[in-house]
């Protein structure tokens, strides 16, 4: 069997990119799906957020922000671009990287679930704020939820999304982290 340690560094880098973009595409597909156990009060896990958290947790704040902006723009394309999802996901990326989890906690599973929970609340709150600003400044889409409805709906969305995202986060984090750690390990040992 071919081992990735023996691959040419250039090939290995390409493979790393393929795996990373492949995982983003997998998350995009999951966004549209409603499998059993993936839905709570009509809300499903925020897979874009889960990916941003997995990516940012062992990277710099800038890397987290760029990933958040990219995935946010993609999600805009899949739903409706106003208000944008890029701001909330970028902030989630920066905050996750800022936590510097690996410095303090070695354990992975429960902490990733907790971080995903917190970030889901942050992301949905920022979206609700954006909707409120759009409503108050009377911009397009003109007729979104009234202000009171937005915040009532926000409670429901934030809680369901946070619970589901935190439960599903380890599913994505475990394989991705294993891969990135392996690549990082090989790169460092060959330097």
């Amino acid at each position: 069997m071919l081992k990735i340690e023996h691959l040419d560094p250039q090939v290995r880098r390409w493979l790393d990119w393929v795996v990373t973009t492949g995982s983003v595409l997998a998350c995009l597909v999951l966004l549209w799906l409603r499998l059993p156990g993936m839905e709570l009060l009509g809300v499903s896990p925020n897979w874009m957020l889960i990916w941003v958290v997995c990516w940012s947790i062992k990277r710099s704040m800038l890397q987290g922000a760029i990933a958040g902006v990219c995935l946010g723009l993609i999600q805009d394309g899949l739903t409706y671009p106003s208000p944008t999802h890029a701001i909330s996901l970028a902030i989630a990326g920066v905050l996750t990287a800022r936590l510097q989890k690996q410095k303090y906690i070695q354990e992975d599973f429960i902490s990733i679930a907790l971080i995903a929970f917190g970030m889901a609340v942050v992301v949905e709150t920022i979206m609700a704020i954006q909707f409120s600003i759009l409503f108050l400044t009377n911009q397009s889409p003109k007729t979104y939820l009234f202000l009171s409805d937005t915040w009532l709906y926000h409670q429901q969305v934030a809680l369901s999304s946070a619970i589901l995202s935190s439960l599903w986060a380890p599913v994505l984090y475990f394989p991705l982290n294993l891969w990135w750690e392996r690549i990082r390990g090989i790169d460092e040992s060959q330097l």
């Binding site: 597909v29 549209w32 409706y80």
Partner: protein, 255 residues
Amino acid sequence: MLELRRWWERYSLRVGLSALAIATAWSVRQLSGAPVLEAYRWISQPFQPGVSQPDILDSAAYLEMQKRLVELESQNRQLQEMLGYAAAQSIEGITAPIIGRSADQWWQQVTLGRGSNDGIHQNDIVTGTGGLVGRVSDVTANTSRVLLISDPASQIGVTISRSRSTGFLRGQAENTAVMVLFDKSPDIRPGDVVTTSTFSQVLPAGIPVGTVTEIDFNADPSPEATVQMSAPISALEWVIVYPNSKDPDDFLEGN
């Protein structure tokens, strides 16, 4: 200068990659996710609902109802002709499978597995078993995205079939919607059937939407009724798309 060059040598790859990633994401946004949607349809093709649902739709009860409807429609047409109305043409709809749900929590959308290749256009009317489901907001070659009537951004003019009281329907992000009535003391009671109204700028009149379950006469500024959608949107696997004769300029502004 040398430092700048050294920095560039060290980080050029990262800068390039970041720029590439942002450019890709931006293009996906500008194209409304069209390439991703097409790819998703291709991947999900083996899992798309098979023949079971159309079989159910073709069940005896359905056919019986349809025959009665045809009978009533033809009677109606004859009566209209007697009264001098122009005869309405019956239009064939396009059957489309639902292949995806909303891609975030704030927008109530579904993705259909038929697109412009099958003759679907933006703003077409989407109905399911039971009544109105939504309108087509984006179309790619083989997929189309539908803004559901349960989305708060979707507002449509509706009327109570029995009393002709009019109002507009605002989605509530679930399977219910709120009908805001224009009249201060409307003739409305639970169980009344709600259909699209002739005042609607985006939809033709007479499409069934749902039934009234609750009425709040004291709501400010005008009475509000809770409407239960007749089409079970979250359980639907197939919908029928009809061309829309009314055509607002911009999709959301047209509400």
